[in-house]
């Protein structure tokens, strides 16, 4: 017989053992660790035995005090142990999912006829989904134009979307001087060239644009409500139902996988929905009789709804507009993963709607509108009164009405928006220098991503004349799929415009040390994984709380009260700190010719015509805690990942003697004393970390240290500069306080990301060096004389410019449509695996950026301005590139972005229009220069 003390010790040991057995056992049973999964299953079953044993051992201790509780405790433990054992056995018996519908798998004969019959329907689904923009998952967030499908049509023509702010906001800007009447008349004459004509009204000379501007400023209906970060649209019950099923199917619980998942979304739903009591019995019975193929089910549902022929595509399009977040993600997933497609989704949706007896084509109510003539006359009379100062003559009203008819109210919002953009672009252009290229060899050259956040760091570092900086796409022209040494999985560190073709990994410098480091990392991972599993599984959280709750309580207190200290401790203890010294395996993934070509392309694209002894290639990443949108703050050119791997790969290529020798033959002579080093800029803390320090030669160590010291000062200045805009900061905020945000798990504004982005400058740095561009401008270095055939400029205009445009429109539409094209406030987000978020517990998968990326409270922080592209390069070269690329023609001719260019720094600025180049009417103003 045990003594109470022995029993207590045994129970304690069993509690700890149960925790370890289940956590480790589960990891072994559900992952490919190399150890047979049966070992994990046995461990999980031993956990059940331990759980029951605890109940048995506690019985004699508890019974003398409370017999009923003692029996209840034993029963609970027996139930828990049995429940876990049954689950464990079920896990073992459940077959591994596999794909049946692989496009390369031979199709059974009996399905061939079905496939032929459904071909047209599949084409109709694809047609209906043509404008749907694929939505990347949250762990590799890619900024996209949510209206990319409409880029072949004029900006502003998409229904149901706010393309501009409320007119009241522009009027408020006019009142406070943010925009001027000059900007307004300029915008009017650009949008309606006929308005530049002169007129005489009541004996007074004026211009048609002045009249139209008066009309704009006197709009009686201008007091529209401002945009609000509304979170919840009224959800439709069918939408909620589908959202729940899609969540369960696409983000399966790691322990309890959805049965029949291998049949695809429609097949799994068809098999399981008859048991779903939330559906009426009649509907469940009908689902049992549905055809096995989603195409046929969709065809049946359409027939039941009376939809056929040419109306089919439109009806399908209407249904794809519901749950646009899920629909966008399904489109992405169909292409990249293949376990779901829109035909399956529509088959479920329309079957449900047909069986529930709901309508198919929600009609939009149309409001009666006053006649255009009456409205124009009323506006004309208002303007005429303002001009003549009393009752106007009918002829004057008629003359003004003719002018106003050329600029109807439907055009007013876009005119205001152009005015708003003109008021930003005019001083920006005026601030750009007429400068000669520098001649002296600089001490250090720093190449950073075109990301607007780099502009601040570059400007601060350039306070030292011996530092020269360049802007280049953050993947440094090296598109790779990257995996760390001995790590599982890989990330696609390249623009979303490219498919990964080169897999780069790491090779340790010291094999033995690396093995020790990896073993330590794996032990750490096993502990973290066991804790996570114990925390998430059905019954083990009790045991976890009993055994490790005290530790987590202390950790939570530390994280809350001293996030900076907690971050430092986590860094000290994390295995990443002991990561082995490695080299990236660039030479294994790229042929010598490819490496030379990549290097030459990079040099010519950024106009690197001379080489400092030390050249730093700095990628960027963002560190924050408890932030589902962390990857939205990482590098867009690296596919929503940090840019460190690409910087390391590029440095390795540039330091390769073989590459340098081949570059010399191509006229690019990198001196022998030049060394490239890779670094990473943390955009939350503005710290720069040298990567691969073991590869820095002794000859350059002192220079690197000197540069890092300079950078620390520049980082401090930049952090203080950024603090002036960060919510919750003030003029006395210290850099340390700003940096603490990286570790603060309650911080919803770790940084402001690319907030404010408004322009892109493609040209030599000397034209913008010294200008404070307020971290709002994408800066891509370019020197026309380094690019004789224009290939480099074409690459810049068809890749970095497109990525910048995607980002710009993502911010633009998230700001103007926070409820539909933005993700709403972070504070109520619930993660669906790594796919995305819901607001609260239901509704659609949210798209776009959270409100905390564009606004504060009910006010916008982001100024929604379409990207103003500014290029210094020969005009005919720019024109040729635009003519040859439909994507640029669409964006420019349809006014999604604007383009202003000059051939050299001494040439006048020209504005691109769909009809050719036009000179800027306004001479550069000096007031409001961005100096």
């Amino acid at each position: 017989m045990f003594t109470p003390r022995t029993t207590a010790r045994t129970v304690g040991i069993l509690l700890l053992a149960a925790f370890v057995l289940y956590g480790v056992g589960n990891s072994l049973a559900t992952t490919s660790s190399g150890i047979p999964s049966t070992v994990g299953l046995v461990m999980m079953l031993l956990n059940s035995a331990a759980v029951i044993a605890i109940g048995v051992l506690m019985l004699p201790i508890l019974r003398p005090h409370a017999p009923a509780i003692a029996i209840g405790y034993l029963a609970t433990r027996i139930f828990e142990g049995t429940f876990l054992a049954v689950g464990t056995i079920a896990l073992h018996l459940h077959p591994k999912p596999h794909r049946l519908d692989s496009p390369t798998a031979p199709r059974p004969k009996h399905l061939e006829r079905t496939a032929r019959m459904s071909l047209l329907l599949r084409a109709q689904v694809a047609t209906a989904a043509h404008d749907v923009v694929p939505a990347w998952p949250l762990d590799s967030f890619i900024a996209v134009n949510p209206l990319a499908g409409a880029e072949s049509r004029p900006f502003g023509s998409s229904a149901g979307v706010s393309h501009t702010r409320p007119i009241a906001d522009y009027l408020a800007d006019l009142e406070r001087g943010r925009i001027t009447l000059d900007d307004l008349t300029t915008a009017l004459e650009r949008r309606v060239p006929a308005l530049s004509r002169s007129l005489t009204i009541d004996g007074r000379p004026t211009t048609a644009s002045h009249i139209a501007a008066l009309d704009l400023t006197m709009r009686a209906d201008a007091a529209a409500p401002a945009p609000r970060p509304a979170d919840e649209l009224d959800p439709d019950p069918v939408d909620d139902y589908l959202s729940a099923w899609l969540s369960a199917y696409l983000s399966p619980d790691p322990l309890w996988a959805m049965p029949h998942r291998d049949r695809g979304f429609y097949g799994a739903w068809r098999a399981l929905a008859p048991g779903d009591r939330s559906l009426p019995r009649r509907v469940r019975r009908r689902i049992r009789e549905l055809p096995a193929e989603p195409d046929l089910a969709l065809a049946d549902a359409l027939a039941a709804l009376g939809v056929s022929g040419s109306s089919t595509t439109e009806v399908l399009r209407t249904h794809l507009r519901s749950l646009p977040g899920w629909v966008g993600h399904i489109k992405w997933r169909a292409e990249k993963v293949g376990d779901v497609d829109l035909t399956s989704y529509l088959a479920v949706r329309l079957t449900l709607i047909a069986e529930l007896g709901r309508g198919t084509s929600p009609s939009e109510a149309t409001r009666p509108k006053p006649s255009a003539l009456e409205e124009t006359l009323a506006r004309a009379e208002r303007v005429a009164r303002e001009i003549v100062g009393g009752d106007p003559d009918p002829d004057v009203v008629a003359l003004i009405a003719r002018v106003l008819a050329e600029h109807p109210p439907t055009e007013h919002p876009l005119t205001w928006q152009l005015t708003y953009e003109e008021s930003y672009r005019r001083p920006l252009l005026a601030g750009l220098q007429v400068a000669e290229p520098p001649e002296d060899r600089p001490r250090v050259q720093l190449v950073m991503c075109i990301d607007p956040r780099s502009e601040g760091m570059r400007r601060q570092l350039e306070r030292d004349d011996d530092v020269e900086t360049f802007g280049f796409a953050g993947f440094f022209g090296v598109p790779i799929r990257f995996s760390r040494y001995a790590a599982r999985g890989a990330v696609d560190a390249l623009p979303a415009l490219l498919a990964p073709r080169h897999h780069v990994s790491e090779r340790p410098v010291d094999e033995a040390g690396a093995d020790r480091s990896v073993s330590a990392g794996r032990r750490w991972d096993a502990l973290a994984s066991a804790t996570r599993v114990a925390d998430e599984a059905t019954a083990t959280p009790f045991a976890l709380a009993e055994t490790a709750g005290w530790f987590y309580r202390a950790r939570s207190a530390l994280r809350t009260l001293a996030p900076g200290l907690d971050g430092r401790l986590a860094r000290l203890l994390s295995p990443g700190r002991r990561a082995p010294a490695t080299e990236v395996t660039v030479a294994d993934s790229f042929t010598p010719e490819e490496r030379v070509s990549l290097a030459e392309t990079a040099v010519r694209m950024m106009g690197l015509d001379r080489f400092a002894p030390l050249i730093v290639l700095a990628g960027h990443g963002s560190l924050s805690t408890n932030n589902l949108y962390e990857s939205a703050l990482d590098c867009g050119a690296c596919g929503g990942n940090p840019g460190a791997a690409n910087a390391r790969a590029a440095a390795s290529i540039f330091n390769d003697p073989l590459v340098r020798s081949s570059l010399r033959e191509r006229g690019i002579d990198i001196p022998d004393d030049t060394h490239f080093v890779a670094a990473e800029h943390n955009t939350v803390t503005d710290e720069l970390r040298m990567l691969d320090p073991h590869l820095i030669p002794a000859t350059h160590a002192a220079r690197v240290q000197e540069f890092l010291s300079q950078q620390r000062d520049a980082g401090d200045r930049l952090t203080v500069e950024r603090a002036s805009l960060l919510p919750g900061s003030h003029s006395r905020t210290t850099p340390a306080q700003v940096r603490r945000r990286a570790h603060d798990w309650a911080e919803v504004y770790p940084e402001l990301g690319l907030l404010g982005n408004a322009a892109m400058i493609i040209g030599p740095r000397e034209i913008s060096r010294g200008c404070d561009l307020e971290r709002r401008v994408f800066l891509h270095s370019y020197r026309a004389d380094m690019d004789p055939d224009g290939t480099a400029l074409e690459t810049i205009m068809t890749a970095p410019l497109i990525v910048a445009q995607w980002i710009n429109h993502q911010y633009y539409f998230s700001a103007l449509n926070p409820a539909t094209l933005g993700a709403g406030t972070k504070t109520v987000h619930n993660a669906i695996g790594t796919i995305g978020v819901l607001s609260g517990h239901g509704g659609d998968l949210r798209r776009g950026l959270p409100w905390q990326s564009v606004g504060l409270g009910s006010d916008l922080l982001h100024e929604p301005l379409r990207l103003s592209v500014i290029v210094q390069a020969p005009i005919d070269r720019i024109g040729r590139i635009i003519s040859g690329n439909q994507v640029l023609r669409n964006l420019l001719d349809n006014e999604w972005i604007s383009l202003t260019a000059r051939s050299t720094s001494a040439s006048p600025w020209l504005r691109y229009t769909a009809y050719g180049w036009d000179s800027l009417d306004h001479t550069p103003h000096t007031e409001g220069q961005q100096q």
Partner: protein, 105 residues
């Protein structure tokens, strides 16, 4: 054309972003394969297209070529025509002859 079997050849040129939908239709139509040429250049209804771009495969044109028996081609032609009704692109259909018809059945 002795010892050759007549089949139907489809050539479809579309923006690269629309190519996955065409590929899916080709597979669904029972074609046993296709050839894909990315970055094709030329001049068409929407103006010139410069061809392959160094860092952008998304905004170029792709040409997809497939060959299949006549009895399966008609459904695919109808489906591709439906798809092209909403997007830019062209489809060319021609008779062709193959030496090993079993490859295309």
């Amino acid at each position: 054309m002795k010892n050759l079997t007549r089949m139907t050849r489809l050539e479809v040129i579309v923006p690269a972003r629309d190519a996955p939908a065409i590929r899916e239709l080709i597979s669904s139509a029972g074609a046993t394969g296709y050839t894909s040429v990315s970055g094709v250049s030329g001049i068409g209804h929407h103006g010139p297209h410069s061809g392959a771009l160094l860092f952008n495969e998304y905004d170029t044109l792709t040409m997809l070529i497939t060959v299949l028996p006549e009895d399966r081609a008609e459904a695919l032609i109808d489906a591709v025509r439906e798809l092209l009704s909403m997007s830019s692109g062209v489809m060319f259909v021609a008779d062709t002859y193959v030496s090993r018809p079993e490859y295309f059945q």
